[in-house]
């Protein structure tokens, strides 16, 4: 192949690549046009400037005229024209945050409307690999200084939370990505997000959720989802066959590290795991207190498969045990049959019942009780659920009041966008916590939080120009107003969402 043929092939590749770029959907308004506008076609412009000297250098080297300048132009041209592959192949795995951020910033074609976020994301990825606390601190500062927070910046914040060991915050931050308009979440950021989510689910062994994960073009996510389909008892209807799975594994990066997952999936358990918690060893005729404690222990251990029905059963067991305890106490008080100091259940019944409420409330906190009616439930269980709900509602009210105070302070109360995002996510977590407690929990949470969150979103949009984050918040407010059936709020949030669409 001569140099002319090679040059022709490179040109053809550039033209094909440029032609394959899908145009963004037409914006509906002038403001939206500014919000979601792709950067100028820097990819093509870069190639137009870089390609001629690069080709001359290449042709010179092809002829055998090797010198430093030509090699520098050849390598430099490749770095400038294809920055993201260099970041992926070298800067990020080797843990060079500054180089990774610089290369990502050049990669307008990859990060589109969120180049700053892409640079921050690349810096965080590299800093995680460098293992240097200073690198992580610098990457964190870069994320916190981001203006116009977009999808890549949000994923960078999720990676930082994961690096800090706060997997809950990381997962909540990843959930927030779905609220952002897809036009401000570059595909590369979506892939990292889905891979981080897959890591969280793998660590927990949550095969059911992993099986349903949308892969967003990530080969690792596709492979993990296929493995999960074999490992999830509910996913056995159409499991991937062994050879397809092996092929998927071959196509997945980091094969040595993913081998353990492949091995686990290939050795699929013979029998589906039971969805019911293990049966207590104590027979039903055992003393009621013993039985209730045994049920409590097994329920706590089987928390993952626990259902509201199991909680009801446990509540009845405790109601019986407490009745029995009360009868024994009365008998002891009358001095009939039970000697004074006859053992642990002769006194402290009220304090003991409080302990039962604490233990039940802990289990209730793990369940989604949004469709659970408190009517006809044992009194001790109702007390436990109300205790948990009151505590959560108090926490939500305090957080909402703190946000309202900050909004009143106007400019002095403003936070960097990444911290505004974190505050919104914190409120969402508290909101969801209340919404899961009882049939009317969501309505209660909505009435408590809707006005202040809406006010925060409006301020972000009107005063601070953080349109992307405000739009994400408005989308969430709209979905919640629909879920609660609040018609008046729905109209307001529909209007707000239309402003940014």
């Amino acid at each position: 192949m001569g140099p002319v043929t090679f040059v022709a092939l490179v040109l053809a590749a550039v033209i094909v690549q440029a032609a394959r770029r899908r145009p963004s959907p037409p914006p509906k308004g002038a403001r939206a046009a500014r919000l979601y506008r792709d950067p100028p076609p820097l990819f093509v412009l870069t190639w137009l400037f870089v390609l001629p000297p690069w080709l001359l250098a290449f042709a010179g080297l092809w002829r055998g005229d090797v010198d430093v300048a030509r090699v520098a132009v050849l390598v430099g041209g490749l770095v400038v024209a294809l920055p993201w592959p260099w970041a992926r192949l070298f800067a990020i795995p080797l843990g060079w945050p500054r180089a990774a951020a610089a290369l990502a910033h050049l990669a307008a074609h990859t990060w589109r409307a969120d180049r700053d976020g892409g640079a921050a994301l690349a810096a965080v990825l590299a800093a995680r690999n460098s293992g240097d606390a200073h690198d992580v601190a610098r990457a964190r500062a870069r994320v916190e200084q981001l203006d116009r927070l977009g999808g890549a910046g949000v994923v960078a914040a999720a990676l930082l939370a994961d690096h800090d060991g706060d997997v809950g915050l990381s997962a909540r931050t990843l959930e927030a990505v779905a609220c952002f308009d897809r036009r401000v979440v570059p595909p590369a950021a979506r892939r990292v997000a889905v891979e981080l989510r897959a890591q969280h689910l793998l660590a927990r062994g949550d095969w059911s959720a992993l099986r349903k994960l949308a892969p967003e073009g990530s080969r690792f996510a596709v492979f993990a989802a296929r493995c999960a389909a074999r490992l999830d008892p509910a996913g056995r209807a159409a499991p991937t066959d062994e050879w397809t799975l092996r092929l998927r594994w071959l196509l997945t990066p980091r094969r040595r590290r993913t081998r353990a997952l492949l091995t686990r999936a290939l050795a699929r358990p013979a029998a589906p795991a039971s969805a019911a918690p293990p049966t207590p060893a104590e027979p039903l005729s055992a003393p009621t207190l013993q039985r209730a404690v045994a049920l409590q222990v097994w329920s706590t251990k089987a928390a993952r498969v626990l259902t509201p029905d199991h909680l009801t059963e446990l509540g009845h067991a405790w109601a019986e045990a407490l009745d029995s305890l009360e009868q024994q106490r009365r008998t002891a008080g009358l001095g009939v049959g039970v000697p004074v100091g006859a053992g642990p259940i002769a006194g402290g019944a009220d304090g003991f019942a409080d302990g039962v409420v604490v233990a039940l409330a802990e289990l209730a906190a793990l369940l989604d009780l949004s469709r659970f009616s408190l009517v006809d439930q044992p009194a001790v269980l109702v007390r436990a659920i109300e205790r948990e709900r009151t505590a959560r509602l108090d926490a939500l009210e305090i957080a909402v009041a703190a946000l309202a105070l900050r909004l009143e302070q106007a400019d002095s109360g403003d936070l960097p966008p990444s911290l505004e995002l974190r505050e919104w996510l914190g409120l969402r977590a508290l909101y969801d916590g209340v919404a899961r407690m009882g049939a009317d929990g969501r309505a209660l949470a909505w009435q408590t939080a809707k006005s202040t969150i809406c006010e925060a979103a409006v301020r972000l949009w009107n005063v601070r120009g953080e349109h992307r984050l405000a739009h994400a918040m408005n989308r969430w407010l709209l979905s919640e107003s629909l879920a609660v059936g609040d018609e008046r709020s729905r109209e307001t949030h529909e209007f707000n969402v239309r402003c940014g669409s």
Partner: protein, 120 residues
């Protein structure tokens, strides 16, 4: 304080019949062993699995068992759960306080580190 996980009788490894003197002696013993960082003192058995024993937990347990109002609230739990604590040992999904993973892994999960191109 969770009545099973943080039960003072389990923290001090005492039966419900323990006297105030025994509580004092056992508490001092655990504090001394923790001071010396002896492995056998680091965890205690509960029906929910093994838990990390800390000097603060030992002191709180001693206070609770010496308080006439608090002690009876833990006795039924300890009496009913004692057999389960012995039986279950460190099994189940209990916290054993071991490991330094940033992920809350359980038996079903895998260590996902290094499985993606960006995670070394």
């Amino acid at each position: 304080m969770h009545p099973l996980r943080d039960n003072p009788f389990f923290v001090l490894a005492l039966p419900v019949t323990a006297t105030a003197l025994e509580v004092e002696r056992q508490g001092r013993k655990w504090l001394a062993m923790l001071e010396l960082d002896l492995p056998s003192a680091r965890t205690y058995a509960t029906p929910l699995g093994r838990r990390l024993r800390t000097p603060d937990a030992v002191r709180a347990a001693m206070r609770a068992l010496n308080d006439p109002a608090q002690r009876p609230t833990f006795e039924p739990w300890a009496a009913a759960g004692a057999a389960l604590a012995v039986d279950s040992g460190d099994g189940g999904n209990g916290d054993d306080g071991a490991g330094d993973d940033r992920y809350e892994r359980d038996d079903a999960g895998l260590d996902p580190r290094g499985m993606t191109w960006w995670d070394r």
